[in-house]
């Protein structure tokens, strides 16, 4: 390396403060702007949800949540998430494993297709389900003749939710597994571990925080999905109405306390997700840093 003399720059920047920092006025304006936007579009609406939910006191709130239709919507949402999250977790691990560890033709196409649900509007996803499994769809009449109901029943809601939550786990794991490489796994194999043993004792522990993070996001979306589910649900109250649909139905009933009580449960879920996510991000980066040091 040769030290080149730096060209003499005209001294337009004042020397009394760090050249890389913004002017204090600019910084204050930017921070003020960010805080205002956050307050207007995030904190205020969130506060409104809880204020409206308790508009008729704690008794009104509990009363709204003990309604049979509301209970059924909570149960349905839990069932759907319980089915969708494990399936998409299994898929996500399998896909990430295939993409990160093997070279094959069509790999980039696979990665693109995993992302498809992010770019397709959820309503379209729902409509595709109806076109496939509806009474006049491609597969619907066949299935109906075996007595299998898909659309306007739980399986349809599960399918639509599976579709929209499809990429979350895979998206989280692919870059992580690619970055980590396969050295640890090869070491395990050379030491005589079976495929399963390697997977359970090396691969999984290596990605556990990333995996948890993906599962969390997947779960939040599975419980909160509206568009795709609205198309395939048929909106049967106390039957195929999930929590987000129930919020809309109650709102349209002029039942503000009911609507916002259910909405507050969803908001609560979002807040818990956010807290756990922040915690995981902190743990997750710590883990990675540790691995880089050793």
């Amino acid at each position: 390396m040769i030290d080149l003399p730096l060209p003499e720059t005209p001294l337009r920047i004042q020397r009394d403060r760090d050249a890389l920092a913004e002017a204090p006025a600019l910084r204050r304006t930017l921070i003020g702007f960010a805080v205002t936007v956050l307050t207007l579009f995030l904190f205020l609406p969130l506060a409104t949800v809880f204020i409206e939910a308790f508009g008729k006191g704690v008794a009104g709130f509990l009363n709204a949540l003990s309604d049979a239709e509301v209970q059924s919507s909570i149960k349905l949402t839990l069932i759907v998430a319980t089915i969708c999250v494990p399936i998409n977790t299994a898929f996500g691990i399998a896909a990430a494993w295939a993409v990160a560890r093997f070279e094959f033709t069509g790999k980039s196409a696979l990665v693109t297709f995993i992302d498809l649900p992010f770019s397709v509007s959820p309503v379209i996803a729902g409509l595709c389900c109806v076109l496939l499994f509806g009474a006049r769809g491609l597969l619907g009449p066949q299935l109906a003749s075996y007595g299998v109901e898909v659309i306007f029943a739980i399986p349809g809601i599960v399918l639509a939710t599976l579709f929209v939550t499809f990429p979350f786990v895979a998206r989280e794991l692919i870059p992580l597994m690619q970055q980590q490489g396969s050295d640890d796994e090869q070491a395990a194999l050379t030491l005589g571990a079976s495929g399963w043993r390697m997977f359970l004792t090396v691969t999984l522990p290596n990605v556990k925080w990333g995996l948890l993070y993906g599962v969390l996001l997947c779960n939040a979306r599975a419980m909160g999905e509206f568009g795709a589910v609205a198309v395939v649900s048929g909106r049967i109250r106390g039957g195929t109405s999930t929590m987000p649909l129930q919020v809309e139905a109650l709102y349209n009933d002029y039942n503000m306390v009911g609507a916002f009580a259910v909405a507050s449960l969803l908001a609560l879920l979002a807040l818990i997700t956010l807290i756990v996510k922040t915690f995981l991000e902190w743990r997750f980066t710590g883990e990675l840093a540790l691995r880089r040091r050793t």
Binding site: I79, P86, I87, G134, A135, R136, G195, R235, I236, Y254
Partner: protein, 340 residues
């Protein structure tokens, strides 16, 4: 390896779902697929019917409801929503189910009294307290600067009644001069910046969000908003001329036979014509067919106005649907890309 667990997981999940879906068949379940503003009406009707049915048969009957824009609800039944009965906003939506799915016969309307319409309603205006824009008649809706709220006739049944009521008024005012009628209805829809998909959506837009000066609404919907949001906020204005809206009900034969619910579903629809139900109907601001059964105070609230009928003034629903709401019909011509 995990690829091999995947199908097994799916199988376990699906069996779980099927078990859940098929469980608990000890009682009778009916599904009533209805349009948007009937939520409160059928809540009351269902409770009354449940009592009567359990007393007479000893069975417990649970009636579930699904509400949405009349057109989109018909669409859902065509796509396989297992409705035992449909109670929609207008006859063409049930005709569409009959024509596209064959789940009920084309002459469904003849199976119950009054062309299968146990109650009627009409179209009125809901305005803000004190009627600041001085709205009295349809003419006032076409004036520049009046904000009109009405749903989209393509998806909402109520909106189609609204549209035809305005059209009928214009026909009379301009003695059938077609270009003037079109210009008049176009002026009204030009005043409507948002078209919600269902009648209830429009009511919320007008009453809750405070958009517009006048809501063109079902009479029952206007009364409900009036009760719900306080009489100090709104006024109901009845135009001198409106339309007789006849929301029909029908049994969906293929579905009740598959569900084994024909008897209960049929009794449910017949129940709508009984004095007990007619009284509930009037209480919920629908006009009962049997006025003798209703409370006098409920009847007294209905404004007296001249009502056009779909058969006498628009040549029946089939003709009206084709002329106004089909692809390229008058609504398409005056609203959206076709509007000039």
């Amino acid at each position: 390896m995990s690829m091999r667990i995947f199908p097994r997981l799916v199988a376990i999940a699906l069996t779980g779902v099927l078990a859940l879906a098929s469980g608990a068949k000890a009682e009778i379940n009916l599904l009533n697929v209805s349009y948007d503003p009937t939520r409160e009406l059928y809540k009351a009707i269902n409770a009354a019917f449940g009592d009567i049915w359990s007393k007479s048969s000893g069975e417990k009957v649970t009636i579930r409801a699904s509400h949405g824009g009349s057109g989109s609800q018909a669409r859902a039944v065509i796509d396989g929503l297992k409705a035992d009965v449909v109670t929609l906003a207008l006859a063409p939506d049930i005709d569409a189910i009959a024509a596209n799915s064959g789940r009920l016969p084309a002459d469904w309307a003849k199976r119950l009294p009054n062309n299968s319409t146990p109650y009627t309603s009409t179209i009125v205006f809901l305005v803000r307290k004190g009627n600041p824009k001085g709205i009295k008649d349809w003419d006032d809706l076409a004036k520049p600067g009046v904000g009109v709220v009405t749903p989209n006739p393509k998806t909402s049944g109520g909106a189609r009644w609204n549209y035809l009521a305005a059209w009928g008024h214009a026909q009379r005012r301009f003695a059938g001069d077609d270009s003037k009628v079109r210009a008049f209805v176009r002026a009204i829809y030009k005043n409507a910046p948002v078209l919600d998909t269902g009648a209830r959506g429009s009511t919320i837009t007008f009453a809750q969000r405070g958009v517009g000066d006048v809501l063109i609404a079902w009479e029952n919907e206007a009364f409900l908003a009036f009760d719900e949001f306080g009489k100090d906020k709104f006024e109901i204005i009845a135009p001198p001329l409106s339309i007789l809206a006849e929301p029909p009900v029908a049994l969906v034969d293929a579905n009740v036979d598959a569900n084994g619910t024909r008897k209960a579903a049929q009794t449910y629809l017949e129940f709508l014509y009984t004095p007990t139900a007619q009284k509930i109907i009037a209480k919920n601001h629908y006009r009962p067919r049997d006025e003798a059964a209703a409370d006098h105070s409920d009847l007294a609230r209905f404004p007296k106005l001249e009502l056009l009928t779909i058969d006498a003034h628009f040549g029946g629903w089939a003709a009206a649907q084709k002329a106004h709401f089909s692809e390229g019909g008058t609504f398409d011509q005056i609203y959206g890309t076709g509007a000039k």
